[in-house]
Symmetry: C2
Subunit: 368 residues, 2 copies
């Protein structure tokens, strides 16, 4: 794996040099992990003029962290407690003879930026912007394989839940049960707080489970994901509780299903982000649900559950092959409930069979 | 409750005015919650010259958030998606006729700060520093009552675990089981990721549970906490698995227990943070464990699990009455394991009976 991290750092270094910076300071944890194999708590990564250094406040083994640091990368441990690794890294960058350092201005706080400037005033701090996030968008097959395993785990956990008795159990308990099953099947943990929404709560995005109990006739919407070796996937399904769904439930389900399928069918290398969003959104729009739709209908996944690209009306850019995204339109009717259907897919060219569906649980409307 | 939030905002406003700012922008979520009752995702709070406003990217009910916003507080919802509520709040502050705005430079990113400056260039941005964190240090009895209930819940969850069979179960499963029991007993959720550490992992601070199984003869150290109405407490205990602990286990346990008691006994209004730390630390130091001790032996708890004050060698300041803190020294011997003992207590004057112990599970060395 060490070569993978070294290659990623080389790509970043080339981008920095092209924009005039000899060195970069990476502080956002998911970016540190992407380039260094692990992000021990409070660590930062210096992409240095002469050498890259993982700068930590203590021995990496003593700090909680997912992953293992790349062994080819030297670690610099701050002497004494209470120091700021970003300040130390700025000092090290200057010591390597650099005169400028690109920083992640969208992550670094004003206070840390000021402390760096005051300790190394002759170092010019520039903005790296989202350069690492951009590198992270297209995944290699190793990363996709982690996402695929995570999706299998989520499918298994969801499948087992569907076989159990649901009526009378609370949203909170169902969510905990799903999270336990994710870990049973080998996940590092849930990819994000599991959302279980019943009755009037169903269909809400990122609903926090309550003590409401599942009742006959409810919609039940569930959104969960597994983290596997740091990679996070997402699946969302909506079910109906009882033997026969009401007409409005069938109609709403069919509509959201059609929207989700329209979004999925747009996934191809070269498709504009906003066109994928529009394909899903206009199905809901034209049925009169323009109001109250969420601001996006999908997003990238990887080391974070919500990363670039955003599939949203104002998003700029086009999909590439090997970009994993969610497609997750939903409708929530206040007081009544709603439907969300959410898959994780990998964009693949037509010649390779088109988009690869990672989350394979059925999207038929099941009555449980 | 509304008067409580209004009174907190008034205290903050007075502090701001004393330091020359007519308005303040609160962006750190726990601070927003403290002053506004809830922190809907991506919201910020403007403590304005003429009116306070909770600035949100969408209707607060649509955003996942713990707590409920103070109903006496007006909400400003951004028109359209993709806006930054901090930028909007700066604009609103200028609209109220302010010429300066104090911001949380330790939380606000460089990019957001720059965006605020470019949208409202005539508004002078100053640093609020940790003013809200300082207000949060001393708790009222309502807050302490939430911590007390959370501690009872954690004690119950831990007590039930001790009655079950432990040998052969993995750290990961025991941690999940504890988290389920926390929710069973009425917690909003765990206060932080539950740490279960066995054998050579035992005694490590913030250990992430692995697939290691509990074995006869192991130390088992557990650290968990409940969130109750937003307030987070912490308890840590170490047990031995099997009928008779080894001599080294008894010796190490007695030592850490003595250190923890020494720290607890120092808790009183007026005691310097560093003296509490030193009391616990020197017991371990003088037994030859100076190397590898954690950088702190305790910390404040409240809306966050790790807040001011820090009980650490270089900490400045003194305890007040009604400050809840942890006392949690520990020793970890690489390859062998170790002991941590962790309580949450509230500082109380001698006349009120001295420190109030919230986490009452026994600290005898139990053999399970």
């Amino acid at each position: 794996m060490s070569e993978v991290y070294a290659a990623r750092r080389t790509r970043l270094r080339e981008r920095c040099q092209a924009s005039g910076s000899a060195a970069a300071l990476i502080s956002r944890p998911a970016n540190v992990r992407y380039l260094a194999g692990a992000a021990p708590q409070d660590s930062v990564l210096l992409i240095g003029k002469s050498e890259d250094l993982l700068v930590c406040v203590g021995p990496p083994g003593d700090r909680p962290a997912e992953g293992r640091p790349d062994e080819a990368l030297r670690t610099h441990i701050l002497p004494g407690a209470g120091g700021d690794p970003a300040v130390a890294a700025a000092d090290l960058a200057a010591g390597q003879g650099g005169d400028s350092l690109a920083v992640e201005e969208h992550h670094l706080t004003v206070a840390r930026h000021r402390a760096m400037r005051s300790v190394v005033p002759r170092l010019r701090l520039t903005d790296l912007g989202g350069a690492v996030e951009q590198l992270r968008v297209v995944k290699d097959e190793e990363e996709i394989s982690c996402l695929r395993i995570g999706a299998e785990i989520a499918d298994q956990a969801l499948g087992e839940l569907l076989e159990s008795i649901l009526v009378g159990r609370t949203e909170r308990h169902l969510a905990l049960e799903l999270e336990r099953r994710l870990v049973d099947h080998g996940a590092d943990g849930p990819a994000f707080p599991t959302a279980v929404a019943t009755g009037p709560n169903s269909g809400r995005r990122a609903h926090r489970p309550t003590d409401r109990r599942v009742e006959e006739g409810d919609f039940l919407s569930v959104c969960l994901g597994a983290t596997y070796r740091g990679y996070r996937c997402e699946i969302g399904r909506t079910f109906v509780i009882g033997t026969s769904p009401a007409d409005w439930q069938i109609d709403l389900y069919d509509l959201v299903f059609a929207a989700q399928r329209a979004g999925r069918e747009m996934l191809a290398p070269g498709a504009a982000y906003r066109d994928v969003d529009r394909a899903a959104r206009q199905v809901l729009d034209s049925a009169g649900y323009a109001e109250g739709l969420p601001s996006l209908t999908g997003h990238g996944v990887g080391l974070e559950i919500d990363e670039d690209p955003q599939l949203a009306p104002a998003a700029m850019g086009k999909l590439d092959a090997c970009v994993p995204v969610t497609v997750e339109p939903g409708v929530h009717l206040p007081g009544r409930g709603g439907v969300r259907i959410d898959d994780t897919l990998v964009v693949r060219p037509e010649a390779d069979g088109g988009p690869e569906l990672l989350t394979i649980t059925t999207k038929e409307l099941l009555a449980l």
